[in-house]
């Protein structure tokens, strides 16, 4: 076979592939289950979604497996947070996948944080302050309004990758956004009685959620982001909780629940199982809206049971 023959063959194969692409579903890889749930809302049965991180996993650290590279190498669209949450593990996987469609800067590579104003952008980067992200706090998806923004970005990317189904994607986006707006009003009403209340979290994952619903989630079991709790710091947390009558601690699946149990035993606070990802806690599997529904209800119940007035003094 001459060189020319090879080229003709390659060209023919490329054309065949393009023809086949019209038939097959769009392959969408997402880093975390929240983006996965939203992508399914918008793409419906026109897309095949592969989620890399497990719902109950610490998404700061995901152990690389061969299948992740395979999935990325076949992806038409990659959806990631884009706020450095996945910075420890995603870049080498993308490099290993050698897929130009999802390379940085391509329309197939969606960073959902783009266009958002992130909280807690550090004025200077100093590792002694813990696991600080240069772009700001990366856990922005805990605010439903930001999730709606992500949905728009995802829909846009799906339209570009698969223009034939553009109307479908846009319609489904609208349906999702409308449902979200409707729910948001209800969630805010549910948490309204607790405006200004303080809640303890294990890690600083919830500032967006807190600011959307008028809460303060600014006391952490970790002394600094990413640094395991030390006895002295926990004692300090207990003192703060007693002084301010803080009665609720939220813990995510990958975090050490025993630490929270120890603190709750000393402060008489109740523990609420929180998660940033659909499927991370029982009852949140169905999707993003169901997730926030679950979180808001669980938190409202705990706050009204506790009867505390933590932080409500201003």
């Amino acid at each position: 076979m001459t060189k020319q023959h090879v080229w003709i063959l390659v060209l023919a194969m490329a054309l065949c592939l393009q023809g086949a692409a019209a038939e097959r579903k769009l392959s969408v890889v997402v880093t975390t289950p929240d983006f996965g749930a939203i992508a399914r809302e918008i793409g419906g049965d026109r897309i095949e979604v592969a989620v890399l991180a497990q719902a109950a996993e610490d998404v700061h650290f995901v152990a690389p497996k061969p299948s992740y590279i395979t999935k990325l190498s076949k992806a038409d669209v990659l959806i990631e947070g884009g706020a450095e949450l996945e910075i420890g593990w995603l870049p080498p996987l993308i490099e290993g996948a050698r897929n130009t469609k999802i390379a940085a800067g391509q329309p197939g590579h969606v960073a959902c944080a783009e266009g958002l104003t992130l909280l807690e952008v550090p004025t200077e980067l100093d590792r002694s302050k813990g696991d600080i992200h240069a772009m700001g706090n990366p856990h922005y998806m805990t605010d439903p309004v930001n999730a709606r923004h992500a949905a728009e970005k995802i829909a846009k990317a799906l339209v570009v990758a698969d223009p034939q189904n553009a109307t479908l994607y846009q319609e489904r986006l609208k349906a999702f956004s409308d449902r979200m707006d409707e729910k948001l009003a209800g969630w805010q009403k549910q948490l309204e009685p607790f405006r200004g209340r303080r809640v303890v979290a294990f890690h600083n994952s919830w500032p967006y959620f807190a600011s959307r619903f008028g809460l303060k989630m600014d006391v952490f079991l970790e002394p600094k982001p990413g640094i395991p709790p030390s006895p002295a710091h926990l004692a300090e947390v207990v003192t703060t909780m007693k002084a301010e009558n803080i009665r609720v601690i939220v813990v995510e699946p990958y975090q050490n629940r025993r630490t929270a149990e120890k603190v709750s035993a000393q402060s008489a606070a109740s523990i609420v199982d929180f998660t940033q990802y659909p499927g991370g806690v029982k009852g949140t599997e169905a999707g993003y809206i169901e997730l926030i529904d679950h979180l808001v209800t669980a938190l409202a119940t705990a706050l009204s049971d506790s009867g505390g007035t933590g932080g409500n003094k201003e």
Partner: protein, 275 residues
Amino acid sequence: MSEALEIMKWPFLACLLLPGILVYMGLHIVRRQIIFVDLALAQVAALGICLAILLGHDAHDWQTTAWSGCFTFVGAAILTLTRPSGKRVPQEALIGIVYVVAAASGFLLLSRSPEGNEELRRTMVGEILLVQPAEVLRTFGLFAGVGIVHFVFRRKFLLLSFAQEQGKTEGVQLWVWDFVFYMLFGIVVTSFVRMGGVLLIFSYLIIPAVCASILAAALRTQLIIGWTVATLSSVGGLYASYLFDLPTGAAIVSALGLVLLLTGVGRLVLVKLAP
């Protein structure tokens, strides 16, 4: 299959090219009965990496290598000075202590570092799946250098491990060569730990050497058996990792363990069958 090759190409090359020298050093170590020296030195090297990370360097910065190298140097010096001379404290005890203290210190250091847990996991199981081409080639160059030194001075090193009494009567400066041995060993361990982690390096050093020692007595035969075992296990482990989507380093370690088991059983059967 071609897809597997595409994804696993560099881990595959790393696992084919790099264990060559590890198997050879493993034979020395098994013969000297200082099995846990590699675990101890690997852990000391990892401790250097931990400190560098705490000081704000990235795991792939040259400063990290430098710290890791310095720690290994000190570790090698300690191990040389404690070479057994028939005292009441066996060297194995000190090796164990070096390992445990280095591991515990790593925990202490990384409890102050934001990505501590992640780095601890990485020093144990490594990230052979995501190994960079440049890293593989650089390490291969380094290992080739170490191999050449070992080849040129092979008489001294072999005396050291395989015929110590003869070495003493010939008046060779044992401790000098001992130190050189540990240094070269340290260099190899340091550079491989960053790629494969403590578990994988221990397995590549010891398991092929043990298989070889079960089956043969002559060094040359042992070396050939060791290399075969390492290569087969690497290929099997990598393929299983791809096929069943398992963490790559741990899959190779398990494959090595399996080959040892088969070797042991096979040997037993042969001995029983033989008249």
